[in-house]
Symmetry: D2
Subunit: 356 residues, 4 copies
């Protein structure tokens, strides 16, 4: 199989670097275009990330000398890549994601900006694969021929959306109170100062509670009249905290369903949940640990190469129906890994096919 050519917008930032590392040996995708802000543009990649490469593997050899382009070199992008991953800031996403899509280049985005656009899907392939069907509608709405924008959700909610979704299908989630304990890597680099987080907790992350409460409603919503309509029978309340952990967002979840399932039904659904046949998809997207003190960020974040969600401590709740703890790797499943899985799924479904 011939690999298809991809670009990375924001290739020099933390999420961009994660893309570079995860795509170094991808079986389907071949990175051949880097774009970044003015500061890095014009340099080769090795130079552009010199002194701020934060991955645990060295920069893949063949990317060392790849040039970093300006974000607006759209003609070159059109000639170079079949689609792009966008790992840019919200401000840049606002300007450039539509530019690329309008020019016929599909954008698989990590940015929050378009998650609120009603014809842009917020996609987790194991959860709402049918939302991909908004793509031709989006193209029609916007008069775009081949380009489109697909977003992935915020990193904080992956840990509970994946285990809750198969339960939601059968028993309908009604109320959800969540407290997250989020890792410092979620804030990018340099991100959280050591003076703020060592021997400390920060009980606030800007805009994180809003995203954690609103994005699930869209993900569990349905395509209706050319748009994705958020579900409106679910109430979610989130507390988001930053803790001194490098990677891995943990969530404590209290959930009430329309119909209360048995504990055994839940465990059985989780244990039987299987992954998609895609290169980055974990065989078991949901791993339930029986130990009383799991999941733990350092022990469980790398399960399924960072793409599985680990859960534990399912127990009764005296107020809602059940309580449990969930963990997801915020920079893999919650960022670049999630974006790559989206691209793989869209490719398999034929949405990226016409381009290659």
């Amino acid at each position: 199989m011939k690999k298809i050519s991809v670009g990375i917008l924001g290739a020099t930032g933390m999420v961009g670097q994660q893309y570079v590392q995860l795509l170094a040996n991808h079986p389907w995708f071949d990175v051949c275009f880097f774009a970044s802000s003015e500061l890095s543009a014009g340099k080769i990649y090795a130079e552009a990330v010199s002194g701020r490469w934060h991955m645990n593997m060295p920069i893949p050899e063949r990317f060392l000398n790849l040039p970093v382009h300006r974000m607006d070199e759209i003609e070159l992008a059109k000639r170079s890549c079949d689609f792009v991953f966008s790992a840019v800031s919200n401000d840049a996403a606002k300007i450039y994601e539509e530019l690329y899509a309008r020019n016929g280049i599909p954008v698989i985005s990590n940015a929050a900006y378009h998650r609120r656009s009603a014809d842009v899907p917020v996609l987790i392939p194991e959860v709402n694969p049918d939302h991909a069907q908004i793509i031709p509608i989006q193209q029609k709405n916007r008069n775009w021929e081949r380009g489109f924008i697909v977003a992935k959700p915020n990193c904080s909610l992956q840990s509970y959306m994946i285990p809750l979704s198969p339960l939601h299908q059968q028993f309908k989630v009604k109320r959800l109170i969540i407290t997250t304990l989020q890792a410092v890597s979620g804030a990018g680099y340099p991100g959280v100062s050591s003076l703020d987080i060592m021997d400390n907790v920060i009980p606030y992350i800007a805009n994180e509670e809003e995203k954690s409460e609103q994005e699930p409603l869209k993900i569990w919503g349905h395509i209706q009249d050319n748009f994705i309509s958020s579900t409106n029978n679910i109430a979610i309340s989130a507390h988001c905290n930053r803790v001194p952990v490098l990677d891995g967002h943990l969530a404590c979840i209290s959930v009430q369903f329309e119909q209360k399932p048995d504990k055994e039904e839940i465990l059985s659904i989780w244990k039987n949940f299987r992954g998609l046949p895609l290169p980055s998809a974990p065989d078991r997207p949901i791993i339930y640990r029986e130990e009383c003190n799991r999941p733990q960020p350092r022990q469980d974040r790398n399960a399924g190469n960072g793409m599985s969600v680990t859960i534990g401590r399912l127990r009764d709740c005296s107020i809602f129906d059940y309580r449990f703890v969930a963990l997801s790797h915020n920079t893999i499943r919650g960022a670049a890994g999630g974006g790559i899985l989206n691209a793989e799924f869209l490719m398999q479904q034929g949405y990226l096919e016409g381009i290659c």
Copy 2:
């Protein structure tokens, strides 16, 4: 005023050391009796804690040569002290707290063992001072003449019981979902291994969720028919986590009242709440911070010399009425400081008077 003589049971452990440090210059209490397990008994204090003194001040000079006695040297205890602070393990509490009380020595306890005894008050002087009235009943129930046992609650719940109680008086708490982020010092010494907690969270603390859910019901209960009857119209659900923080338990709270108060009413009650006129009582037991990212353990744990609770982020909840964040110093307000405040309060109320 002549100081009254006090003993410390379990004087060589972490909580015992905290008592030693906090009582070094107490205006009312004079420590003159130390008891501990077999391992330390027979040594002088300096020797007994050698290599395991964990306080940030040196051992107070005048305690260096004080002998450490066996727990069962009850005749000596009777001659030496007017009452004792108990900082022993649950197993030792089971054996020795009744022994001391039966022998006429009041016990101000930190142990969990007697918190469930229906005629033992679980006391926070700012919250349920009327529960002290169970003392003569307890003495009658148990046929004790001068001795009695008073417990203080678990460290995890001080942060929310103090701010919720004045609201509960007016608006009646109905439902409470709490997630705690607790410091490692709560597990004593050596307690939590660095290998378990660095770059990690442990989403489980043995028996902590049960205590966090049950003790508030007793604290908000009433004396009835010779016992303290727990309130039964309140449902509490707790998630307890250990985080890499040295001191300070933080809690994320979602609360529903029987009658929903205005946000301004809550803030006004908190801002007007004043402390008791006791040596260890903070002038402001509740400190509300306006900043969006407070309270934080390292910044706020020492407020009011570790005896104030700091709260912040009061905001609406889409499911219950309100959400907020609360923080309390677990080894001061939540342990030895809370015990000392109890003793001061009981002294002021005359319960320790007959003895001196």
Copy 3:
């Protein structure tokens, strides 16, 4: 005694905040002038440090509304303050410290810029008090009437200069190999990213080894021909590391003397070393701990209100004469506290007298 009026240059940065906190209740000095970079100038202090106040006490009430001026408002500074503490960056020190001194305002500086100026003393009052005598020479060299500049040394070297100096007087230090383990607060705020230092050590701090090797030679030097001449018979080699510690720089020291003293002589010198009769001077600038595992940053950094150096583990060395471990609080003794002590000393010596 009437207090004398002082200003703080760079009042809104980390070191500036430390000055504000330490000077809140100073018996001699009354802060009445704040200057800062363009960003903060024009605001009141509370506003200027809003969201970035990093001290553990709240902003002292009476500073909340003090205006923050531009660094170049020199006429106002002349009318407002008898001398200034400078807590500015090296670049700003280059421009402004001479400006203030030229305009008759003595500058007690924390910046590195003038430490290399041969007529500027690098002062530790307990170590090289005689270097203050360069002040009239400096004024003559530079044709300044009342102003002058006095520097304090780099934070990394306080921990070993103070204990080594009384030994150096008698036995002459010849060779010194030092490895420092330095706290993150030494890098200012935001300073070291949590992603760089959690579960990690960074074995490099820019320019720190050079300063650690050169500044001691000047401190141990002598006034000669209108300049301070560095000593040239001592060789120093330093390794500087950043470790995940909030405050407190620790140093492992191997030292060789011209004449090897007895171990008992060293311990006796250290134990008999007494502080200066100044408000911020600790009674015991050198505290020797007998325990095998001290000093430790968290346990010992606050000794003497952060102004004492704690040392331990004096032992023979198979290569040089002796080895030991030393610790000093980098933001108190090593920064603002050291600057204040310098001002107190200069005041006592009459160098600031003519001004008041």
Copy 4:
């Protein structure tokens, strides 16, 4: 090739678990015998390590039900295994290592006990492979037929012995002053309490400085008159510190040679140093990083699957010849990985051959 059968003494401790993890898929060795202290003996492995399995991979499936035997079940050991890895405490090593060797079972040991026995080699295959020749002499000395004991050095010194040894061969190391910054995993489990090490450094590790100073002299020594004679022209002085890092011991080294090499010679020797053709040997045992701030524990400990030493910052020294920084993974190269490499080397050299 038929695999040979190996046992693990102390299989349930931290180092034992590391052996279990690293040997799960070893091409030559097949683990088929576990022995441990009385506490674990009689259980199956899964049960014996339940609640205290500290590796980042799950227990390999096929070891779950392997029985754990008593250390003294020597007849069973003789029938089950060709040699054993010993990961026991010093006290147990004293008793059991000779028991096994006397009974014809070679012991590849991690314990310190026999490192001082003059006919037991302290082996690093890349450094002193010739010391294996003591094995037949040891057997003759002790009248053992097939069994023997081979030790590996202390974890603290791997980081500098590997890069220094090829330099020592040519230029003769003369003096060495070392400061180590060691990870908490070096103390085993539960090991270092979080209360002792968070936001702190402990400048002392029991016996570590002695080992760091003496073992290199034996490793650089020579077989002479039936014993290994330590070299006696080298002076080493070590400062050992515990820092809040999970894995990876870092060392700051100042070294003087008999003949001072050029910086380029050193770099060239390091860059050309190649590994042994053994399954666990890294291709490049020495990795020199050009960046000014490397090596770092979290970034570099896993180089070469935890078997490579990463070094950096080679620079002139004003007192000795050169300074540099070195890092080695203390639980892989410094413990189980080093033991496995020793076994592979001895197997390749024929010392384990006669047995299989």
